[in-house]
Point group: C2
Chain length 105, copies 2
């Protein structure tokens, strides 16, 4: 996993923080498929994902429109429903406008 | 590590994504101390932190003013300099305005 190579701000971040249950059948495959699918979406800029008990996945998007289109993607909607009902014991999704960034490459 | 219990948006997120070097002497103690210190700052709302190779730490703040005050904290500035020069091989810091959130508790 690498640091996402995002363009100059402004752009959006979707910060998805979660804890999983012990019923994880189908979880890994679906997670991989969602990454594959997200990468094909218009406006997708990259993502970073780490789990060690707590999971944090941050995906980056061009604008709210592209986040909305991804939310309404049918396969993603089905996966989200399953996540909500079965895989995640708790989660928080935060939609945030990245105003500024800096770093070391 | 738990999901941060943040108030209703708007508030700010500082998304700090990083990779560490192998020279980590003093790193853990300093990281712990920074959490302790951040929690005492006016406007600090919580944080989430996970590492598995890539490290993602998201801290939440009331406004830009509180982020700026934390940035100018002397002990934090010293730690940041050391992180930049020694502990982090690369990092990206993104300052983002959380506009909306939802989840499952």
């Amino acid at each position: 996993m690498k640091i996402a190579n995002t363009p100059k701000p402004p752009y959006y971040a979707v910060i998805f923080t979660n804890l999983v249950t012990e019923e994880l059948e189908g979880y890994e495959e679906t997670a991989d498929r969602m990454v594959e699918l997200a990468q094909q979406q218009e406006g997708f800029l990259g993502f970073e994902s780490v789990r060690d008990g707590l999971g944090i996945t941050v995906s980056y998007w061009k604008d709210l429109e592209s986040i909305k289109n991804w939310k309404y993607n049918l396969e993603h909607s089905v996966a989200r429903k399953k996540g909500n009902e079965k895989w995640y014991s708790s989660f928080k999704t935060r939609i945030a406008l990245v105003e500024r960034d800096y770093g070391k490459e």
